[in-house]
Amino acid sequence: MTDTPPLSLKVPQPECRPGDTPDFSGIEIPAAGTVRRPAVDEQAEAMRDLAFTIIRVMDDEGAAQGDWAGSLTDDEIAQGLRDMMTLRIYDNRMMTAQRQGKTSFYMQHLGEEAISCAFQRALQKGDMNFPTYRQAGLLIASGYPMETMMCQVFSNEADPLHGRQLPVMYSSKEHGYFTISGNLATQYIQAVGWSMASAIKGDTKIAASWIGDGSTSENDFHAALVFASTYTAPVVLNVVNNQWAISTFQGIARGGAHTFASRGHGFGIPSLRVDGNDYLAVHAVAKWAVERARRNLGPTLIEHVTYRAGGHSTSDDPSAYRPKSESEAWPLGDPIDRVKKYLIGKGVWTEERHKQAEAEITDRVIECQKRAEAIGTLNSGHVPSPRDMFEDVYAEMPPHLVRQRHEVGY
């Protein structure tokens, strides 16, 4: 076969780079309400199609459509709107605080608020999330005190993590929010293990795991699919596909597959794809998956299709690698605008009330911030003592750490 032509390496490229015109025409978006809702005990094989479509509830006019509609009352939806607005306003304030030097680092949720806010409302007390840094909506929607979140961000003396963790790496056992790791993906398999423990103990709690599109390439993602599949673990496996992993477009992680949801197919795991900017759809799909887990029917994989409208973090400037206007071209819209439109359409919300809610929330956030800043910020000097640096390495401090602590003068 000396006549074989030479091989060449194929490296996937995004549709557009800075200077190009954004183009999302490759994303097939079915009309809201058109995707069926299978029974929760339907076999994975019978719903393969659901990994290649997008489950959507709210249509362009703001009306709820189809089988997946109706999982929430209008009051609950209004609460969801408030949760998302709170998260966005909180993010704004913290982004500014970081720029002002009050902390070292921050990561926002711009455009992705619906996912974590809606998902949390499908869980029960006692269930455990294993989140990434981009699901603070889980905390907001579960009523975790915002002031405490800020104290963590400011690494001040009231930070429950004693200044040890980077900003946004919250932890709250009580609020079902597992301690965030800076190492991507490690939590994914831990969630599976946690849910297996619940099953071993004959408990009724379930776990929900979270990962970004880019991080699905990690080892832990695979281990989680293997273990969840093998032991029929009561866990919901969420993949948040926000199109980007820092500067890397999702095609590098996805490769030749059409969707991330389809990764579940090789493991016999029911896999759904949902409009991540549609609060109603996310909630409905979450509820469905949570019910599967709770009824011991096993894991569900959910790909949330969304767009990271902001920078990766305060250290990142996305204009270096994608068109500035890409975010506006994103076809699934803004999650807050969409719910607002829905509620206005239903006659239970108005522009007026929205402005008022915005002002109220802003006031509340500012007030929290004042209290948190009064305790301290990273640059104010009111940070946890070096003494705390030596605590919690072990339950009991071993002699060599006591010696080291003495050396620092404590």
């Binding site: 040890r164 080892n219 273990f227």
Partner: protein
């Protein structure tokens, strides 16, 4: 007291722990129905059911990672990595996660997992069934690292590790599973029943973590060691006739510096001995601490005897293994210094 091999003692520790505390769960590759390739978990699935003792997929990451999740839930997972040489796929979960859950969550989530793994060579296992990676754990804050040298200790240390609120790496010198091997590979195999520490208390007891044992008292020289090398050290002492004190560390972290320093300050000479690769082995830490603490007592530099800085070879296994001859030669060298 009951005659037990190290395997039986370890199996027995699992059994007692599972009977006492129903939060104890045991899993790993081949540990369920079959009871482990070294039989350390034999009979547990049959006795406690397959949701408390089960086979795992061949994913050390998954085994440890799922175990961490279970520990965070409130269980006490005792997991097996089939050979220490295969712990690397799980290393991220051990280092970045198990070791730091308590710290990074301000004490809210903890990780009382025990990760067991057979370690060491001398079984013709070649480079991937012979490694001693303890130094890769001792460098990681948040981990405890344990390595027993006999059945009585193995059982008590494992029970203490299971009771411990923090992650414990439990290294089992596989060459000692069936007998107190002293490095004389050309002599008949000695079974545990010929050794006093093969007599094991059948009930529940703990050997506290962080306490070394002086397994041979001596005045002229201290040998600080652990695992298989404890028996090699004793043999070398007998054979050279040097009145050496042999310290079995049992726990590497936290280290029982008191026992170590007291011995070296008494003898003034110290040989540090392990099977792992010399460079950056745990012996380096021992030598660094001992020279710092005993500087004015030392009559010669601390001497390290260890595996060579090569992978563990197959055919040249006994040239690699720091046996009693090599140890003895170095003891003499140290006495002359």
């Amino acid at each position: 007291m009951t005659q037990m091999t190290m395997i039986a003692a370890i199996q027995n520790a699992h059994d007692l722990a599972m009977a006492r505390d129903e939060n104890v769960v045991v899993f790993g590759e081949d540990v369920g129905y079959f009871g482990g390739v070294f039989r350390c978990t034999a009979g547990l699935q049959q006795k406690y059911g397959s949701s408390r003792c089960f086979d795992a997929p061949i994913s050390e990451l998954g085994i440890v990672g799922a175990g961490i999740g279970m520990a965070a839930y409130g269980l006490k997972p005792v997991v097996e990595v089939q050979f220490a040489d295969y712990m690397y796929p799980a290393y991220d979960q051990i280092v970045s996660e198990a070791a730091r859950l308590r710290y990074r969550s301000g004490g809210e989530f903890t990780c009382p997992i025990v990760v067991r793994m057979p370690t060491g060579g001398g079984i013709w296992g070649g480079q991937t069934h012979s490694q001693s990676p303890e130094a890769l754990f001792t460098h990681v804050a948040g981990l405890k690292t344990v390595i027993p040298s006999n059945p009585q200790d193995a059982k008590g240390l494992l029970l203490a590790a299971i009771a411990d609120p923090d992650p414990v790496i439990f290294l089992e010198p596989k060459r000692l599973y069936n007998g107190p091997f002293d490095g004389h590979h050309d002599r008949p195999v000695r079974p545990w029943k010929t050794h006093p520490l093969g007599e094991v208390d059948p009930g529940y007891y703990e050997v506290p973590l962080g306490k070394a044992a002086v397994v041979r008292a001596g005045q002229e020289l201290s040998i600080v060691t652990y695992g298989t090398m404890v028996h090699v050290a004793i043999a070398a002492a007998e054979e050279t006739g040097i009145d050496a004190e042999v310290i079995d560390l049992r726990t590497l972290i936290p280290l029982d510096t008191e026992t170590v320093m007291a011995s070296v300050q008494k003898t003034g000479r110290c040989l540090v001995l392990h099977e792992a690769t010399l460079t950056s082995g745990f012996g380096a830490e021992l030598a660094a601490q001992i020279q710092a603490e005993c500087f004015y007592h030392l009559e010669a530099p601390v001497l390290r005897v260890a595996g060579w800085d090569t992978p563990y070879p197959h055919a040249q296994e006994w040239a690699y293994f720091p046996g009693p001859d090599r140890v003895g030669r170095n003891m003499l060298k140290l006495m002359e210094a």
